[in-house]
Symmetry: D2
Subunit: 321 residues, 4 copies
Amino acid sequence: MAPGHEIAHLAHLQLFTPKLDESVEFFTDFLGLRVVDSDGPDVYLRTWDDYEHHTITLSARKRAGIGRTHLRAASPEALRRRVAALEAAGCGVGWVDGEPGYGPTYVCTDPDGHEFGIYYESDWFTAGDDTRPALKNQAEAYPGVGVGVRRLDHVNFLGRSVEENRDFLVDMLGGQVTEQIVLDDGTVPGSWTTFTNKSYDVVYTRDALGLSGRLHHIAFATDTRADILRACDIALEQGVFIETGPHKHAIQQTFFLYVYEPGGNRIELCNAGARLILAPDWQRVDWTAAERAKGQAWGMKTIESFHTHGTPTVDELALED
Amino acid sequence: MAPGHEIAHLAHLQLFTPKLDESVEFFTDFLGLRVVDSDGPDVYLRTWDDYEHHTITLSARKRAGIGRTHLRAASPEALRRRVAALEAAGCGVGWVDGEPGYGPTYVCTDPDGHEFGIYYESDWFTAGDDTRPALKNQAEAYPGVGVGVRRLDHVNFLGRSVEENRDFLVDMLGGQVTEQIVLDDGTVPGSWTTFTNKSYDVVYTRDALGLSGRLHHIAFATDTRADILRACDIALEQGVFIETGPHKHAIQQTFFLYVYEPGGNRIELCNAGARLILAPDWQRVDWTAAERAKGQAWGMKTIESFHTHGTPTVDELALED
Amino acid sequence: MAPGHEIAHLAHLQLFTPKLDESVEFFTDFLGLRVVDSDGPDVYLRTWDDYEHHTITLSARKRAGIGRTHLRAASPEALRRRVAALEAAGCGVGWVDGEPGYGPTYVCTDPDGHEFGIYYESDWFTAGDDTRPALKNQAEAYPGVGVGVRRLDHVNFLGRSVEENRDFLVDMLGGQVTEQIVLDDGTVPGSWTTFTNKSYDVVYTRDALGLSGRLHHIAFATDTRADILRACDIALEQGVFIETGPHKHAIQQTFFLYVYEPGGNRIELCNAGARLILAPDWQRVDWTAAERAKGQAWGMKTIESFHTHGTPTVDELALED
Amino acid sequence: MAPGHEIAHLAHLQLFTPKLDESVEFFTDFLGLRVVDSDGPDVYLRTWDDYEHHTITLSARKRAGIGRTHLRAASPEALRRRVAALEAAGCGVGWVDGEPGYGPTYVCTDPDGHEFGIYYESDWFTAGDDTRPALKNQAEAYPGVGVGVRRLDHVNFLGRSVEENRDFLVDMLGGQVTEQIVLDDGTVPGSWTTFTNKSYDVVYTRDALGLSGRLHHIAFATDTRADILRACDIALEQGVFIETGPHKHAIQQTFFLYVYEPGGNRIELCNAGARLILAPDWQRVDWTAAERAKGQAWGMKTIESFHTHGTPTVDELALED
């Protein structure tokens, strides 16, 4: 059975950073998130439009990279069904306590080893006096600081086999593939999958270094493309490294900016206008190598580091040995 | 059983106009839709991001108003289940052929008499040479003409009993109420309902004149609020009547502009940034009369005609007698 | 001789506030100015694109209102010529030391009693380490805080005789009238005057209360109209009072938002796109009462307080007695 | 004597195109100009905010390139003074009839051979019924078609000696240099000059091919940077070639997009926010080679063709022989 609508949405995720203080400063002063809590090496931050407890956990580690990515199940029943399926398929790790603000969480891994946590119970966030929003249909006051990103938009993993990881999302979690790159040899070096009416929530891209479990980037949504231009101006002033952009992807039509947070992880600011996938029989879009060779939507060529930089980096991995 | 996810999305709808040619000109030159076909008194138009055959049917009639509003079912099975439920509840009218490009359509009415059509089969639109999009993940070329609205966003009906109509959407069609106005006497003069991750697709507002079956407005989505400011400039030059706005609603946080098309129907241009309802346990927001008295989000008072103008208008109804 | 090009531009101005701390907070946290210096009851603040020492002096006083408005002369010779003309006309008050960062300043008053200071010598601002801009053609780092207004745009005085005040600007200072309101009786209740390619720098509006020397508002320029919509969102969250807007004036086509700073002075955020007055033979635009009756550009009616509120307020003036 | 304020502004200019019909279509359907008149091989087009008769003359020629660039003098006296100076310096060619809508025009050439026309008399444009603006302070209705650029912003010539050409603008015409590139050997490969409060009106860049009299690009101003992003989308759909951008120059902070019109001339769409040069003692900004090596403002590297493509192209020049 196609397990559609079992996952409600991409939720909070954990990022590793070897420079915790500077990473926190990047997330607050540049992106405009707020620190909601901290616990030893873990700092919890939230975007203003997140109804749950937190959006990002920054965890001090020797190397950069992504920790656990959380998905909220659509219901307690959906959670039970997903756990049963994962256990049957041998992808499950087991139950753990959720992060602060979240209920029991079932941990599993994709074929590449990226760790996911699935949960249903979630405490709705209540803002304190200093960040109480003026409008009651909003989680927290819109911040007048930094870019002021609205929410976590998607995560883009690097992996050895995009196909296997993609199938995990589809078969185990009910994801729907909306767009793909399909090479002339039939292999798939990139796949975009959604759980919602957004055109994608999770992306897998083939790791050019043949490594497993790495992160290409996580992305935050802004309300407009002009917000991303303003982000460029702020990045320039704050010394945030801009890797590439602003420009528009042909795939998914996302207007993008890629920067590195001080810990080394690539962060995207993204906007796709009001584009949504509403068709229940969406016809997957496959992009050929020839179509990809045209560059981004408006013609910019993709820069080299975009194909190779991931976290942990090769340098970081070498250090571990 | 709560019939969630049975309706995929608000689809095409029919608008009546006593001034067909002028209405067509408004939809093409001002809004930026394209005429895709016509058949006697019916002209079919589409927004550039609609994957289906058409978005709006403009039908020549003696008076303004809304005809049939179409909802696409999530699957053939969902369609069968909805029909069974509607027939059991006595809300069904029966099967008809769909409009050009659409399969068999089941017609039903809400308690107020507004007509709905539910269908599943739909021919995906294929653009001809002159409007073929540059990017293959898009239905049709973005037009460089007029406002260039992306898609139909929502419809706002006037009704005698908001509660009964709202319950019809919820119980029969699986709609979810995201926000409401609840007066001190407990009655509900306004209710916002969604079938998707958008924060609303269908709205019911109490008809101040106590009439049934009227339309308050239909709304088209733009990608940014600035697009709506540009729409103001174009409206001014083209002589399009601006009723109120631009401003931001407190309810749903929609940035809005209300204009009248030449036939008399109110048309909204709307943008809510990147706001989406992702929580599977969304906590409905109820607005009190006191909260409403504060005016719109940024303080503007609602003008009188917004409470009274609907289509057909009182003058048009008098003419019918 | 027409003294064109004698005044280079509207420069810094002094605002009185009975709530200095709250006013400073408004100018920094909401508007995004930075405090550059202070001296007892005077706090000096600057917009990031101002090449001079400061843009605004906030001065603690018992009542709100405007103090001295400074104009920078185009050259030392232009300054001498203006002083000679002012003295000959009996409008001069005399030389004073300039505010910190500015050279000798000649003080004069318009027929209504508003005080002007004219100077030429000016120390170019040099940013410290913490606000040094990334680009060397910019005065100070773009702030990632609040609205981030670019510069002081114009000042709008209330006056008993618009005609006399306007003639003072034209005859004494070389201003050029670009637009006016001319009533059926030939009187002029509003006049817009420029010293630059901007379409206006100084405005006189007839004081509905028949008072002298009051301020209607001062205005700050943003780069886009969308910046002003964002300002609305921030105002809402910070509790800044929005009097009217956002909307677009027919006169000068300025997109506007009017708020009150905590001291009571009306502050405008304004944007006119890329509109400039380049014609050396600009044909003054006169608006009739009938044309004004159409409301603002997109049809909004002007609210009552916009005609009556000025600073000092009537209450403040009564207190003085 | 420094001849400041003798030239009011950059006015209309003539562009050569080997593909007249396609060039006209580009200027109307893509840029949103309107054809106001034509005369054999010459088609006159205007931007909506131009108060004069036309903005661009497209002239059918065997090769692309720029014809005469017109500057409007600030007064009849200023025109006489400039002519006297030009004749004394041996740069003058002589008087000719102005283009339709313009009075007697004095033709001269810069040291590189680019032709300039200086005039004062100008018929103010009066819109016909079909393009009459809704607001009387505007030349013509804002078009709801294409990009809808507001006005001609600047022209960028290629030249053998930037220094000599720059000095011509400064000494003969009263231009002011606001920014320059100064190499380590002291030579100036790029110079930005203004006649107004805009930060530049005319640019000279060293011709990498060592040729004389060529054009790098002409530029049109939009009201916002987002307008330029929308232009990208329209360019993509209309098959307009995008050479580079959108991005932001460090020099002058211009947000830019460079496209080629069908005749081969490079056209820039540009926006610098609300930035103006108001200081009468502007401190010229000199950029070193090291500073330039950082790339554009947000880090993008300049592409090769931007350094080499000019019109006429080398191929076109070879054809002439």
